[in-house]
């Protein structure tokens, strides 16, 4: 039997692991100790979850867009590596978007006195999550690896393109989602004025979540590539 070889983790990845962990810890500290409390109408202490809520939301969306782009590249140049990248991005996106929805819900309870409302952003976030869950289900039902990759890429693209349309279609109704950045209904419950320290915390959290996301992505992609190599070797062994 051939000796078992564990491929070494690239040095950059090791560094990234460490950095991501450090950033997350720092961000958490900032959220609890650096950022000031928000007004009671915005949830008081619960409002602190806002930093992770928004960060998770942005990174989740970015992950899905990355997945769609990787899919597009796969369609143009069919190389398994792009497909692995695409799936990995979707999985990361699903986790982050779920965190976004869950933290949003936790924040909503004290502010709006409900766990859920049907406003545009929430619904769109949910639809987006469901779309990419469907993506995973689609992949699971297809046996041929090339077809799986192709169909996945197409569905990721279709999904990404319909999400903005979904948002627009629902936005015609009035939103009660607090609009902190950008225009919106100022009377929406939960809005609060952003003091400079809050902005710092938000940006830092965004950075931390992004680096953490990239680290996870790299790990997942590496896992996928290694699994691919194993499959190739297995096929070769079966033939001889």
């Amino acid at each position: 039997m051939a000796p078992v070889v564990r491929p070494p983790k690239p040095r950059l990845l090791r560094l990234l692991d460490f950095t991501a962990a450090a950033l997350l810890i720092a961000a958490t500290w900032m959220v609890f100790f650096y950022a000031p409390s928000a007004q009671a109408e915005a949830g008081g202490e619960t409002q602190r979850i806002f930093y992770f809520h928004v960060s998770a939301g942005w990174v989740g969306m970015a992950a899905f867009i990355t997945a769609a782009l990787a899919g597009l590249i796969y369609l143009i140049r069919p190389n398994t590596k792009w497909d692995v990248f695409s799936v990995a991005a979707v999985e990361i996106g699903l986790v982050y978007s779920f965190i976004n929805i869950a933290t949003g819900s936790i924040w909503a309870r004290p502010v709006w006195n409900t766990w859920w409302t049907w406003d545009p952003r929430l619904v769109t976030a949910t639809v987006m999550e469901l779309t990419f869950l469907a993506y995973l289900l689609l992949r699971q039902s297809i046996e041929s690896p090339e077809r799986r990759a192709r169909f996945g890429a197409i569905y990721a693209l279709l999904g990404s393109l319909t999400v903005p349309l979904t948002y627009l279609s629902i936005r015609i109704w009035r939103t009660i989602h607090p609009v902190v950045i950008g225009s919106g209904d100022p009377t929406a419950k939960g809005t609060f004025d952003m003091e400079p320290q809050m902005l710092h915390t938000l940006l830092f959290s965004l950075l931390a979540f992004t680096i953490f996301g990239i680290t996870l992505l790299w790990h997942r992609v590496r896992l996928g590539w290694l699994a691919d190599k194993v499959e190739q070797a297995r096929m070769k062994a079966m033939r001889s």
């Binding site: 369609l75 639809v127 469901l130 779309t131 469907a134 289900l137 689609l138 039902s141 297809i142 046996e143 077809r147 192709r150 169909f151 197409i154 569905y155 693209l157 279709l158 999904g159 393109l161 319909t162 349309l165 979904t166 627009l168 279609s169 629902i170 015609i172």
Partner: protein, 227 residues
């Protein structure tokens, strides 16, 4: 020009063939119509629609009905090609593969319109609501077209997967939200006779969807059917 004529011929041939197959077996339309009726009935019990609520909820109930009945048509439309591998026959035609796509989309559109043609008067009679409205017809046409364009593309994918009948709705409905939302809103506005300023935003979205999805279908269909 000749190439376009060939393309158009293939599209029409496919539509006529699907209608001919349907005419011979009459399986699909009957199922879709009965299904639509059942859905309306279920909504009646589920929602306890009183006279006042009915006119507001009509759009929603109608579109939910169309959305569900539509999946029957999509499934069947692709299943015809799967039996006996007839799809290969289509793929051998000397024409761009998107002609097959559009042929199927139009076929599915026709099925949906026939269902609508049947459902509207029945609903109108059962609930004493006047659904004879030009705007409503326009919305149904646009909505059904968008639905068909997306559904045909996804049905082509689902056809090649395991548990295909279950997979299709799961894949389809998240992508249909823009159409369904806009169609329901615009339908209600037309039925309530609101001013056009309220109708335009959602109608525009319906139009955008009706253009974007077939374009995407045109681009991607080949990738789905080739090996």
């Amino acid at each position: 020009m000749a190439k376009f004529r060939t393309y158009l011929t293939v599209v029409t041939q496919i539509v006529r063939k699907d209608l001919a197959v349907e005419w011979r077996s009459r399986q699909l339309l009957a199922s879709m119509l009965v299904f639509a009726l059942l859905v309306i009935l279920i909504f009646n019990f589920a929602l306890e629609l009183d006279a006042r609520a009915r006119s507001e909820l009509s759009s929603g109930v109608l579109w939910a009905t169309f959305a569900f009945a539509g999946t029957l048509g999509l499934n069947r439309s692709m299943a015809i090609e799967k039996d006996g591998q007839a799809m290969d026959g289509l793929l051998l035609a000397p024409v761009d593969r998107s002609a097959i796509y559009f042929g199927k989309v139009i076929g599915n559109l026709l099925y949906m319109l026939i269902v609508a043609l049947f459902t509207l008067p029945v609903y109108g009679v059962l609930y004493n609501v006047n659904l004879f409205n030009g705007g409503l017809f326009l919305v149904i046409l646009l909505g059904a077209w968008g639905y068909s364009a997306t559904g045909t593309l996804l049905a082509a994918m689902a056809m090649q997967a395991r548990s295909r009948e279950v997979l299709l709705p799961v894949l389809l409905f998240p992508l249909l939200i823009p159409v369904l939302v806009s169609a329901v809103r615009t339908s209600s506005f037309f039925l309530e006779g609101l001013e056009s300023v309220y109708i335009w935003p959602n109608l525009n979205l319906l139009l955008a969807y009706a253009v974007i999805m077939p374009a995407l279908g045109y681009m991607f269909f080949d990738f789905i059917v080739e090996e």
